[in-house]
Symmetry: C2
Subunit: 147 residues, 2 copies
Amino acid sequence: MSDGQGDAGLEDVVDGLLEVTSRVHHVVCSVAARHDLTPQQLELLRMLAVPVSMRAFAEELSCDPSNVTGLVDRAERLGLVERVPDQSDRRVRILKLTTKGRNLRSTINQEVARSLTNALGLSTDDHAKVMSVLAAMTSATKPPRTD
Amino acid sequence: MSDGQGDAGLEDVVDGLLEVTSRVHHVVCSVAARHDLTPQQLELLRMLAVPVSMRAFAEELSCDPSNVTGLVDRAERLGLVERVPDQSDRRVRILKLTTKGRNLRSTINQEVARSLTNALGLSTDDHAKVMSVLAAMTSATKPPRTD
DNA sequence: GCTCAACCATTGACTCCCTCAAGTATCGTA
DNA sequence: TACGATACTTGAGGGAGTCAATGGTTGAGC
């Protein structure tokens, strides 16, 4: 519509991408709600496959460290995660899932996979083709630079 | 890892999907921040291509109507949107972009498209292949049922 | 025509998410 | 040992979101 015809399909790709993103978000919220979690708490569980420091976690999330404090406060209150003091540096707290947290993480991962499959019809698609498209997108630039 | 080999690739597809979703979200937040908007305000602009009632908007967003009130309050304060009383039903307020809102919407759409292209390497991909994958996902089930 | 249930939008109370600015404790180094 | 960096926390403040309750409006039945 705007300039030529070179990018004829780009607008559609962008719209499709945003639509898919919206559906994924919807699925994630729905699974989270089922377990009385916020989407952020669910994301915290997903990211804690391996213990990390508060600092490292804030960087992975690209957010302020003080935000992680609050996030972890609430997750700790739910008994999902614990702060373990680092042996070599007493300033550092290592975030680790509790047994309850690990179990919930596993359950949630399964439910997210199943719900996404239903919501997006993943099972009826050619996984290889889908993967190649997704892989191309995520490998384009390693750091999530936005511009 | 879990059961057989039938779903061998599903876990990877899910992970890839969540990774792409995360990157898209990051891009959207970044574009929004550039214009002193929250991601939700940006989404509001995107969705208001055509005027709708508060009620209809809440349904599109799958959220409580009172949330829309707040969202629109802030957008109105920024001069991006206005509430127009409906002629045929005086309970209803129609949401309409102002000229400023329409201009910003257009700018933002371009910026989102450009940033997504950069962040996900869309330009180097085969648009047709990407579109066919995205279309399959969004057409799988019309209503965004999550389960 | 009048009444009453249903409906649209708003308000207030509450929680979570998030950022920024300060503050505390610890580390590493000179 | 003193000092600048680093890791985390705290407090203030605002947006996002839900729920319950309220006011104005509509529409259907009597």
